[in-house]
Amino acid sequence: MTQPSPSPIQPAIAVDDLECGYEGRVLLQHVTFTVQPGELFFVIGGSGCGKSTLLKHMIGLQRPTAGTIRYFGESFTHAAPTRRRELLRTFGVLYQNSALWSSLTLRENITLPLEEYTPLSKSERNELAALRLAQVSLSGYEDYYPSEISGGMKKRAALARALALDPAIVFFDEPSAGLDPITSRKLDELVLQIRATLGTTMIIVSHELDSIFSIADRVIMLEREAKGIIAEGNPRDLAQNSADPRVTEFLHRRAMLPV
């Protein structure tokens, strides 16, 4: 939530010629793309194409073998450890399995990062936790433990936690995983609503076509054989106009079966 945007406008994320891999194996190479502030950006592709690997590099869980990732013009890859930790604080991450801390209530899940990084008093932290839970339609569930709520509610609570420190960018790893289509659609609506209210930049790793077509501003498609990006743009444009059969087959939900 950073309004009004400062000038000059920098891309929220600029990934430049990124190469990812481990133990001498290259998984992704020549990955270059930018994400504008407030954009809802999807990383799509089939299983094993490196979507999650790319996400792990972007949130600092893994180091790239080459290339740079910049956030608002500042290099994350080459930042000094202290600055890197400061930059990490400006991200929110929604993990595939929610990853709520099971021994803490929902309120405590949200207030723990606030307690760690802000000078707020306990009552203010609780007020903010109530706001975050209200923003994900979980008002009143502050005292519940993660084990006492459903999978869809856990996802929303995890989103509330991801928003705790007013992140400039929120990363989502397969947000629809394990959710039924209705709950998944509600989560999409929530993402749109939060973007509208807070103006947060959102990076979503997914292969859920319904979500991709209904909320994505722009996508990049990764492919396993190519070890990188094979398409970039608006998903509807790509589905209609892409000349690459791998892109159209993926976006039209056709399996690549041998003829």
Binding site: R89, S102, P119, L120, L128, L131, L165, D166
Partner: protein, 375 residues
């Protein structure tokens, strides 16, 4: 937006105009930074109206929102009117959201009544007794199946487990055995020296290691090392629905997961206990030779005279039982684990506690039994 190291601070100024307080907010408001204090700003003035305006406001986040919410709460208490009309619509919307979010409560019932707690504890104990009986029965049946058809047994898993719980435990079991032998010899030496019976250190160390300390210490080490590992592995497999997958394929998880572990630890514990005995006796020898100046040969002959085959066999019998107890406790607690990270942790703790408790009980039973049988 990432905080740059030289950020401008949040700014709030106030001036009175008649009975109104005009508050002007500007600068960069970030939740990770300190923000101006509203109480200091309002000081001792008692306005009937508070008007908020923005001037050169750069970035803002929930820090500004919390400030405005504080102002709003103050206005309600002081019965002053809040004029927020000059705030951007998004900020007003968020202020409305944070106000509406407070004080809501979806009741969660975790209350416990004494009778219900006692009743549930009784049912729980009964269920656990049934589970244990069922588990032991299943293991017995699985062992019979193994005896009838050894070809179907998972020998490769069993050998892997033997390496994990046997060969890999040699350093720690050896070290503890040696140190126990040293300690026993030192303790005995203090007393026996008084009577000039130094040589009997060999009898003491030999008998105590072979009959008692060797099997018991090995059991305790394996309970903490292998029993805990069994419980954690099976607990994690349960949490990951791997056990359900066995169930739906009609594969007995007891045959597949428990029996190889049980056989491995039951076979390895006596071997490790013998190894601990040997190093314990060597530890005693070091003290005898170093502290008491007893020639190693004399120590060895004296030890051999004191320890006969029945002592050795009694220790081996005990350690076989201990191995079985550790394997059963570890696997049972793993299979009973709740499907969560905390559940797996509890199962591991419980496996170690159960195994050590049962080891001591079994040891006491053997002590009485061997005494009655004159072994």
């Amino acid at each position: 937006m990432p905080a740059s190291p030289d950020i401008a601070k949040a700014r709030a100024t106030a001036r009175t105009e008649g009975d109104a307080l005009l508050v002007e907010l500007g600068g960069v408001w970030q939740i990770t930074q300190d923000r101006p204090s509203w109480i200091k700003l309002v000081d001792k003035t008692a306005p009937t109206r508070v008007k908020i305006t923005l001037a050169e406001l750069e970035n803002w986040d929930s820090s500004l929102l919390l400030f405005l919410f504080e102002v709003q709460k103050w206005c309600v208490t002081a019965k002053a009117a809040l004029d927020a009309s000059e705030l951007p619509p998004k900020l007003r919307e968020l202020l409305g959201q944070i106000t509406a979010a407070q004080g809501k409560d979806v009741p969660v019932d975790r209350s416990e009544n004494l009778f219900a707690v006692i009743g549930l504890a009784v049912f729980d104990t009964w269920a656990k007794v049934k589970q244990i009986s069922h588990f032991v029965g299943e293991c017995t049946l699985a062992s019979i199946r193994l005896a009838k058809n050894p070809a179907r047994f998972r020998w490769r898993d069993c050998v892997n487990e033997m390496q994990q719980c046997g060969a890999m435990a040699l350093p720690i079991v050896g070290l503890i055995g040696l140190l126990i032998g040293l300690t026993l010899a030192y303790t005995a030496a203090v007393l026996l020296r008084e009577f000039g019976a130094d040589l009997y250190v060999a009898n003491f160390v030999g008998l105590v290691m072979v009959r008692e300390m060797g099997p018991m210490m090995t059991g305790i080490i394996l309970a903490g090392r292998t029993g805990a590992a069994f419980a954690a592995t099976l607990g994690n497999m349960k949490a990951g629905e791997e056990l359900d997958a066995f169930e739906t394929f009609g594969i007995r998880s007891i045959d597949f997961l428990v029996l190889p572990r049980l056989v491995a630890i039951t076979l390895m514990t006596p071997l490790l206990a013998l190894y601990a005995n040997m190093l314990g006796i060597v530890g005693g020898l070091l003290v005898a030779a170093g502290l008491l100046s007893i020639p190693p040969t004399a120590y060895w002959i004296q030890m051999q005279a004191a320890v006969d085959l029945s002592d050795l066999v009694s220790g081996v019998i005990k350690s076989i039982t201990f191995g079985g107890i550790i394997g059963l406790s570890g696997c049972l607690r793993g299979l009973q684990a709740e499907r969560s990270a905390i559940g797996v942790g509890r199962a591991t703790t419980s496996a170690v506690v159960t195994a050590i408790l049962l080891l001591i009980v079994a040891d006491a039973i053997y002590a009485v039994l061997f005494n009655m049988l004159g072994i």
